[in-house]
Amino acid sequence: ETIFLSTQLRPIEEATAVRNVILKDLQAPVEYVVEEPPQFAVRMEAERQAGKHTISLVGALHGELSPIAAKDGFVPLDDLAKELQAKGMPKALLDLGKLGTDKQQYIPWMQATYVMAANKQALQYLPEGADINKLTYDQLIEWGRKMQAETGQPRIGFPAGPKGLMARYFQGYFYPSFTGGVVRPFKSQDAAKGWESFKQLWAVVNPNSTNYNFMQEPLLADEIWVAWDHIARLKEAIASQPDQYVIFPAPAGPKGRGYMPVVAGLAIPQGAPDEAGAKTVIEHLTKPETQILTAQNVGFFPTVDAKLPSDVEPGIAMLAAGVDATQQAPDAVISLLPVGLGDRGGEFNKVYMDTFQRIVIRGEPVADVLNQQASNLSKLMGEAGAPCWAPDATSQGPCPVE
């Protein structure tokens, strides 16, 4: 029996869906076990150290897999990757799965991205002339001001809580939009300007944002009307009241409309008790029809080219539309997931979150903070030896901070 441990699709309905729908017509017996990321990391590390394995297959986010790959804890899956590429899985996507190494560490399983959701009540306060699908930061700020002035309450929210994905916002949305990069221009003038305007934005953001982990809740609770988050973390709200919300791309800055794909991957731990079984599961999960099933049931999108049928439930459809809008946006700046950071991914996030803390929350002078954090960042990149990734221009050796 193959044990499939996943940090994704944990919520009850989704886990049930995986067991009873997605894995149903797979012959081999699979046990689908879910785990929160912290425990996941500890367990994988423990099994690796002890050299005894119970887990045959893991499904987790790019960022969660990278530390394990760094200690080469995964069975290379290059042949599997070849087949899938043949079947039309985008090479760019597959390359993410190499995690900056020369072997295929994981097979992309599901995709998602981050979008913005707005309660329809908010729309009336949109600054005139603003097109919600072509929103700019200035408009967003203006919008927030309006809402606060009218409703007496800050109505924009970000997932800046301990479990929130705010770091991804800075890496994938804020920096690309304002500086066209992530690491290189960390302390550039553009960055400084960006932070200044983000401070303005923050003035109209609900202060509880530092407690939010999943934006669907404050949305549903009507605490906020406009939110940025991972689609999986908005789904609950959208799915439950599709006609109450609109989904639209994140705003654009001077350098364009940054966005970051999210990839969940499937990997086989070194010494997995049932490697063969795991492979079959991967093959099953990456079949177009399974991928469509997945999309329909849990709202993650295919990594192979598979068209969603028209009859998906409205919430999912809206999210899908939002994702398309983001990807198709003319000024879109794609920001890939960090690769080659190994197990320093967390600290990489920390650099951005600390910067945010100090500049925005504690109001320290922008320039100083950027300088100090920049040195941390370059030290980090140096130690990790991670070359630049898009949108930063490629580099020989570790990605430099200019």
Binding site: R10, P11, Q39, Q216, E217
Partner: protein
């Protein structure tokens, strides 16, 4: 035994007393009531504003969903198993230690007490990694026993310290009398000291049970298939909508509350201990 000062029971004082008690009961119960509201109120209930303090639309759907979730039954049994192991072990191992601390002066007493406390002073989750490694090696990984053992580590300080405190309150003469009348030390302990320290032992049991029942991190790292109910639900719940989590929370406290109810008599057993 009419505790307190029956003679001086001014009715005013009585009123004061009871209002105090009522207040404290309310302080404990109201939050729980509100959770129940949220849990039963369904999606609309939790997100409604302003919320009403009275139950609105009651729905058992989340609960039913939990109970229907596959593996819940098994997980429940695992939880009970782990808790049982914890209760038994922590009392069997902790009480003697507490007794030694209470009755004897011996070299290393202080350091022993510290050792016991260490286990509580150190955040378990940080230990989880090496702990799990060694568990995998000894083969306790993914077993109920294993979980019980880890939880015993957590419960031991309670067992030792609480029983120490209680044993100190048991008059020596009684024990001596037992010896004189033919008890070996263990016998004297079990027949005289233990019953008189019953509240302490019951408290230990309660703590052990509750600790084991509520512990998540170790429980989920150390198990794959044999999840305890708490670990099982909480992992599943973490990203579920609020009312599910409230329901889960409510569902999870029931067993411990029931357990405490079961042992409450011993928890507050009273003997008119009197020296002469």
């Amino acid at each position: 035994m009419s505790a307190g000062q029956p003679s001086s029971f001014g009715s005013a004082r009585k009123l004061l007393l009871w209002s105090g008690i009522a207040a404290l009961c309310a302080w404990v119960l109201i939050p729980i009531y509100l959770v129940a509201l949220g849990a039963f109120g369904g999606r609309s209930g939790v997100y409604q504003w302003p919320k009403s303090i009275l139950p609105t639309g009651v729905s058992f759907e989340p609960f039913l969903l939990f109970l229907k979730t596959e593996g819940v039954a098994g997980a429940f049994l695992n939880s009970v198993g782990a808790a049982a192991v914890t209760v038994v072990l922590s009392v069997l191992i902790g009480a003697p230690a507490g007794y030694a601390l209470a009755r004897y002066d011996f070299k290393g007493k202080g350091s022993f007490r510290l050792l016991v406390l260490l286990t509580r002073a150190f955040p378990l989750a940080i230990l989880a990694l090496p702990l799990t490694v060694s568990f995998i090696r000894i083969g306790l990984y993914d077993t109920v026993i294993g979980v019980g053992l880890v939880h015993t580590i957590l419960a031991l300080p309670f067992a030792a310290l609480v029983t120490q405190g209680i044993f100190m309150g048991v008059p020596r003469e009684l024990e001596e009398a037992a010896w004189v009348f033919g008890c070996s030390r263990p016998q004297a302990f079990f027949r005289i000291v233990a019953p008189l320290a019953l509240p302490g032992l019951a408290a230990t049991a309660v703590f052990a049970f509750v600790i084991s029942w509520n512990e998540v991190f170790a429980a989920s790292v150390l198990t794959v298939r044999n999840r305890t109910l708490t670990a099982y639900l909480l992992t599943v719940l973490a990203e579920s909508p609020l009312h599910y989590r409230l329901a889960g929370g409510l569902l999870l406290i029931l067993p411990s509350v029931i357990f405490i109810f079961a042992v409450r008599r011993y928890l507050f057993a009273i003997w008119g201990i009197s020296s002469k």
